[in-house]
Symmetry: C2
Subunit: 215 residues, 2 copies
Amino acid sequence: MTSPLRAYHHGHLRHALISEGLQLARTGGPAAVTLREATRAAGVSPNAAYRHFADRDTLVRAVAREAQLALAAAITARVEATPPDLSPADAAIERLRRVGLAYIDFARAERGWFETAFFTQDTHANDGIVTLDDEIVAPFRLLMDTLDAMVDAGALSPERRPYAEWACWSAVHGFADIAVHGPVRWQPASVIDALAASVVESAITGVRGTSTPPS
Amino acid sequence: MTSPLRAYHHGHLRHALISEGLQLARTGGPAAVTLREATRAAGVSPNAAYRHFADRDTLVRAVAREAQLALAAAITARVEATPPDLSPADAAIERLRRVGLAYIDFARAERGWFETAFFTQDTHANDGIVTLDDEIVAPFRLLMDTLDAMVDAGALSPERRPYAEWACWSAVHGFADIAVHGPVRWQPASVIDALAASVVESAITGVRGTSTPPS
DNA sequence: GCTGAATGTGGACGCTGTTCACATTCGGTG
DNA sequence: CACCGAATGTGAACAGCGTCCACATTCAGC
């Protein structure tokens, strides 16, 4: 009984630390989520974290998972808002466009979370097959399904389908990274908007093999 | 005269520290280039670095510059090795392909340098106009020139030329990042090779607006 | 109500960047 | 050649970080 008012004890501290870490990562990126700062924010001694996380890296990874979920949610929401009055082919293309723009916008709006989501340590050796959590792969599967739907709707020829997901993801992720860390960062937001739209259209054209006349 | 044999004194220590930092960054990325380690490797006290760099971040930036130069050199070398017996249009497309593949291969072969090259601190406020060093922008200008050459050779319609450089760079940089940090990392090298080639072809198709029949 | 497991605390160590006062070395000027 | 100021390197110190240790507290089930 060192202090009559116990700041925190035997609660769900693991969740609290992830929550604080998420807040730190939001503004400072993965480097800002520090063991001592998170425990301090939770009103707990630094070592308390070691009852729930093996080390700092494990904590950051848990925070990264939450950031990935946030990205997935942003993409899913944008895709689900696709107007329903479109032909199957146009709808599939529009969904593909929305995946890309949502990804880029998330990176720009939540830079710290975006950096954290893509933060991986090289120590993470492959423990067997690479299997990610379903919720996190959701956007990627959404992308796959959208491309498959394009094939079904005749908006993408079947022989162009293989590897198309990587081409799309690369273009979108690359622009997001350049817009957040690269030279594009200094441009005004309106310019970045235009560039983003251009890059996404180019990615769509790249996988389709033919440019779409502007609607 | 504390020691008869002076390990290092009044030499070109700035260059030595960058050199050591480059070595550290090669295997450990930007996080591994630490003031104490670099000075230790140079046989000098930690504080000696402060006579040449304002702080650690300045040193890392200097190392990053060297890494960027290495990337630029790799791209330039690959492009310059383009076979000369090609039509102007085919030569331009081939050069574009080489820029992309060289970029990706550099990221895979020199992961630490690639990470360091794209390491930027948010503190770097825009001091006026964004003007990078000529040598560093060289690959970007090479990309621009190649796209312009494609227009001249009729391999790219002029109305598709605007922003094409960003679409190309985004696709290539994105794949490089995914191949180094993302899920693609766990794939065998041969698979990554195939994916890289596919992504680059897709990027070329994306900016051209039409797919090229396989030669 | 007690006992063992789970959880949180306090102190310590080595590492990092950074600052201060001090020592050394170099280059130019008399 | 001697000197003196500027440039450069040194040593000790401080705070913050991750991490390990032994110890204290709290909870949960018999």
